[in-house]
């Protein structure tokens, strides 16, 4: 393998796709930053505390999970547990079967992307309609989302208009407003015909059992206004301790994700509707999904379970902007995905162990993260794991370090190498069979080799540096 897979993907990416991803993520980041810093004197303090709250939850899931279950049940919610993706899908399917349900509408939920719920249900004869505009377009295209918050960041309006035409949603028209109106007209009848509405959850609060959902389009609200049964698929790490913590996390989530103070709809669900309300679910189910999370919890990367899926790290990431989300070959792209996806892959970790390499370790992701996840440190730990487990994907195009570590621990050998490197000044790079050197030279020049010149200057200058001799005892 000549280069890393993500680099190859970036090299083959269509220019207009790269431009869509680049401009979309850059705009998202700039909006986020201006809103946070305009509104708060010290946004970093907010991020730190939110991170501490989430870290506390992660490290106390053994007590929070039974507590939140009891609270939900007391509120009249039926709680299910699923160890695996398959079990989660089966849990949803059995709820549908018990109701004789044939049609489901669903709001955007990343955990259902992990379990590929839509495909699972369609194979069993259930109509499962994505209602978030972006996810709806992904569904009719048979595509995959490429961003956590903006699933179709990689598509332009012309592609969308073509998809709508092909799907029988009117003649070609690439005006975004027309596209949106057509989706509105098509989808509202889907909600009203559906038996069940499925959502994820942004938070579930331990002390109150509130399930909190944030959206902008109103689709999850429509799912919960039109259907008689609500199923929420929730990753086991989504817990917040107290209602009051929502005051911090909601303020951070919207600003980090979309640069808004609050998303348009913030919904707090305690359970089935109560009379006299006519609209809404008579039955509320929560499916708690593990699907690899407990393994992440056991690892030295458990901080990634703080993630609230805002997408800020994708927006700021210079690698994501060049490569696009599909380069990551998994549900979660960008910096968070480069940590989470290989970990969630479990035994398939080595296949995705190249993802943590797709970073210049610039640290911008940590700087924007609303829960202050030390993403670069986690990427480094996973690089080490990939190396230790002998992942071929991770090793691709990575210079071997054996010879370097021998030289760098033996000063005499080091000095010899400093001298020997001068060959590069006379021999063209193409004759030097070092892949890393050739990869460097393909895009950049190398400065002149001046190995040892500083040490010579230090030795020979008129006024020697203080006490060079004392240092000679070393090495």
């Amino acid at each position: 393998m000549k280069f890393q897979q993500i680099d190859q993907f970036a090299a083959n990416l269509r220019a207009d796709t790269r431009e869509s991803v680049h401009s979309g993520s850059k705009a998202g980041h700039e909006k986020r930053t201006s809103v946070l810093f305009d509104h708060y004197a010290d946004p970093n303090r907010l991020r730190q505390i939110a991170g501490e709250i989430k870290q506390h939850v992660v490290e106390n899931l053994d007590t929070y999970l039974p507590a939140v279950e009891a609270r939900l049940q007391a509120n009249g919610v039926i709680v299910h547990w699923a160890s695996t993706a398959e079990a989660a899908n089966e849990a949803v399917y059995s709820i549908l079967q018990a109701r004789g349900a044939k049609k489901m509408v669903k709001a955007k939920t990343m955990v259902s992307e992990e379990t590929e719920l839509g495909h699972f249900l369609e194979k069993r004869g259930i109509e499962c309609v994505e209602t978030d505009l972006g996810e709806f377009i992904i569904q009719i295209d048979g595509d995959h989302p490429s961003h956590i918050v903006k699933p179709i960041i990689h598509k332009n309006r012309r592609e969308i208009a073509t998809s709508f035409e092909r799907h029988g949603l009117g003649a070609y028209n690439d005006d975004p407003e027309t596209i949106t109106r057509r989706a509105r007209a098509h989808l509202r009848h889907k909600y009203l015909e559906a038996d069940v509405g499925l959502t994820g959850a942004n938070f579930v609060v331990a002390e109150s059992g509130r399930i909190v959902l944030v959206t902008n389009e109103g689709n999850s609200r429509f799912c919960l206004a039109a259907t008689k049964c609500h199923i929420a698929m929730i990753g086991i790490e989504k817990i917040l301790p107290r209602d009051r913590d929502l005051g911090l996390l909601l303020n951070l989530l919207a600003r980090s994700g979309t640069g808004q103070q609050l998303t348009v709809y913030t919904e707090f669900i305690r359970g089935p509707k109560a009379a006299p309300q006519e609209d809404g679910p008579e039955e509320t189910h929560v499916v708690f999904v593990d699907n690899g999370r407990s393994e992440v919890l056991a690892s030295d990367c458990r901080e990634i379970l703080r993630c609230i899926r805002c997408g800020a790290c994708l927006n700021v990431c210079p690698v994501y902007r060049q490569a696009s989300g599909h380069a990551y070959r998994s549900v979660y792209p960008g910096p968070v995905g480069a940590v989470l996806s290989p970990l969630l892959a479990g035994k398939q970790f080595p296949e995705l162990a190249d993802l943590p390499k797709a970073s210049s370790l610039c640290g911008a992701c940590n700087e924007v993260c609303p829960v202050n996840i030390p993403i670069p440190d986690l990427l480094l730990r996973l690089r080490e794991k990939g190396k230790r487990e002998g992942s071929e994907a991770a090793a691709a195009a990575t210079p071997p370090m054996g010879a370097w570590s021998v030289m760098a621990t033996q000063p005499a050998a080091w000095k010899l190498a400093m001298f020997g490197g001068k060959i590069m000044n006379v021999l063209p790079a193409k004759y030097i069979p070092v892949p890393a050197l050739q990869a460097w030279q393909a895009k950049r020049t190398l400065p002149a080799w001046r190995g040892g010149a500083f040490r010579s200057w230090l030795r020979t200058r008129a006024q020697p540096a203080a006490d060079v001799r004392s240092a000679k005892s070393e090495g």
Binding site: R188, A225, E267, R270
Partner: protein, 204 residues
């Protein structure tokens, strides 16, 4: 499923068992999330109206203004919460068809829906709907125009204050401006699945 429950909890316990100590739950001061420009004494009603406009919502202060807005746009068919209608009826001319029963088989027949808001949030321009206080979830969502009738006395200053007052209603939704998306090329389009026009009719 009980076996999944037990195995998840058992894996979680064994994952956490080796930790020498667990991260403590930090406390935090409400001050932390008070926005720069909302410090000091705040006129909640004025701030609410200002912020609602910033999220492209429409604050109104009289039934007559509401009728004028609806007339101007030709929105003459709608729904009104039966509890609110007696107080509003006088302002609506006979050219309007206003129903007090919402028929979900004809959602597109309603151009507007007038429902009661349980409260508002000033710093965000948010109207709060509860199951107990809002006659129909669908009537506040499906029509192009949603009119939330909001008492000035129920406006919270900020998000933490509104969170503290959530209470026990089975379903509470905060609506901050009209429904919107930026999924297509990041271009803002309002009125996706929910209302394209969000009105707050402020009453005493």
């Amino acid at each position: 499923m009980s076996s999944d429950r037990d195995s998840i909890l058992s894996r979680v316990r064994s994952a956490l068992a080796p930790l020498p100590e667990r991260a403590a739950l930090p406390d935090w001061e409400r001050e932390l999330v008070i926005m720069r420009n909302a410090r000091g004494a705040v006129d909640a009603v004025a701030l609410f109206s200002e912020r609602l406009v910033l999220v492209n919502g429409t604050p109104l202060t009289s039934a007559a203004d509401l009728v004028a807005l609806l007339e101007k746009n030709g929105w003459r068919r709608g729904y009104c919460d039966p509890a609110l209608w007696p107080g509003l009826q006088a302002a609506f001319p006979a050219t309007f068809t206003v129903e007090t029963l919402f028929d979900r088989s004809r959602v597109d027949d309603y151009q507007f829906g007038i429902t009661a808001a349980a409260g508002g949030i000033a710093e965000t321009g948010t109207v709060i709907l509860t199951d107990g206080g809002t006659s129909r979830r669908l009537a506040a969502l499906a029509p192009w125009v949603h009119v939330a009738v909001l008492s000035r006395r129920t406006i919270f200053v900020d998000v933490p204050e509104a969170v503290a007052a959530l209470g026990s209603d089975p379903n509470i939704i905060w609506c901050t401006g009209p429904s919107k998306t930026a999924d297509v090329e990041g271009i803002l389009i309002e009125g996706v699945h929910g209302p394209g026009i969000q009105v707050a009719l402020l009453v005493d």
